[in-house]
Symmetry: C2
Subunit: 165 residues, 2 copies
């Protein structure tokens, strides 16, 4: 991404609704996505039965994995899907320290995504690499808790901080 | 629970493996559980395909809801299932502020469970009431993320703190 001269290289950001992400990306075309880093911030939320939504995919698979599977030449990094869109690019909207998660199969791609996250304002230490793309199950399945927390805290400008001994 | 004289009233704690909780509780018998508060700390984890486990129930239902449904005269409060067992009863194992979640359909039962959590060392402000028992979907579905975070932080003595604007 950062080419050393401060320019940003080519990345694709999937911020489409999770229920149509695969269809949209198929229309973009595998050839156009080949070799590129795709940051997947989407969540497979089904609002058809009202609030709170359920997930169309979960538990034994995830949308992140399905995208990686459908586009094997694309380097998918799941990231940012655990916070509100405004917080994604402006983490200081939430005071103090809090964490952002990423996962993916390509180490170099994750390094480049982390650099982009730092440009958004996420401190390096706040970025947790959860491993390969299957960890997208973890971050996508967190969203039902996020939705309930939203109801309690009363603002979408919140996040979680991992605290450990 | 707290009868005003410092004694703890009758509560049932379901700390069985989530995959057998309903069977075990059925053997205990609905009559024996009737009217009582049941704190459900279990998670429906299926380890049969190895690590990480998947959930046997999720998304459109939860184990907490299934228990409430199976024992309608019992006041089920889902709580503590988002932290390691040692942290449940000794939150100071994790430094600083962090949160514990509870949900259930009976407000009085939640008040009594909150009082018990405070005795365990959870500050009143750290206890989040997420609403009715359907919020157990949120706390149970958080467990796959917990498992990945465990791998990153390297200790089960960790938790999350909700940070908001």
């Amino acid at each position: 991404m950062d080419k050393g001269d401060g320019r940003i290289g080519e990345m694709v950001l999937n911020a489409t609704s999770g229920t149509v992400s695969l269809e949209v990306l198929n229309r973009v075309g595998a050839d156009n996505l080949s070799g590129k880093i795709l940051i997947d911030v989407s969540n497979p939320l089904d609002f058809s039965a009202g609030m709170p939504p359920t997930l169309t995919i979960c538990n034994t698979e995830s949308l992140g994995e399905q995208i990686q599977s459908a586009f094997p030449s694309t380097r998918v990094v799941k990231a940012l899907n655990t916070v509100n869109a405004e917080v994604m690019v402006n983490p200081s909207l939430v005071p103090g320290a809090h964490n952002v998660f990423m996962c993916g199969n390509d180490a170099q791609a994750k390094t480049e995504v982390a650099a982009l996250l730092e440009r958004f304002g996420w401190p390096s230490a706040s970025i947790f690499d959860l491993g390969d793309i299957s960890s997208a199950r973890g971050t996508e399945m967190y969203v039902p808790l996020w939705l309930r927390l939203w109801g309690v805290v009363g603002t979408s400008h919140f996040n979680i901080k991992v605290v450990s001994a």
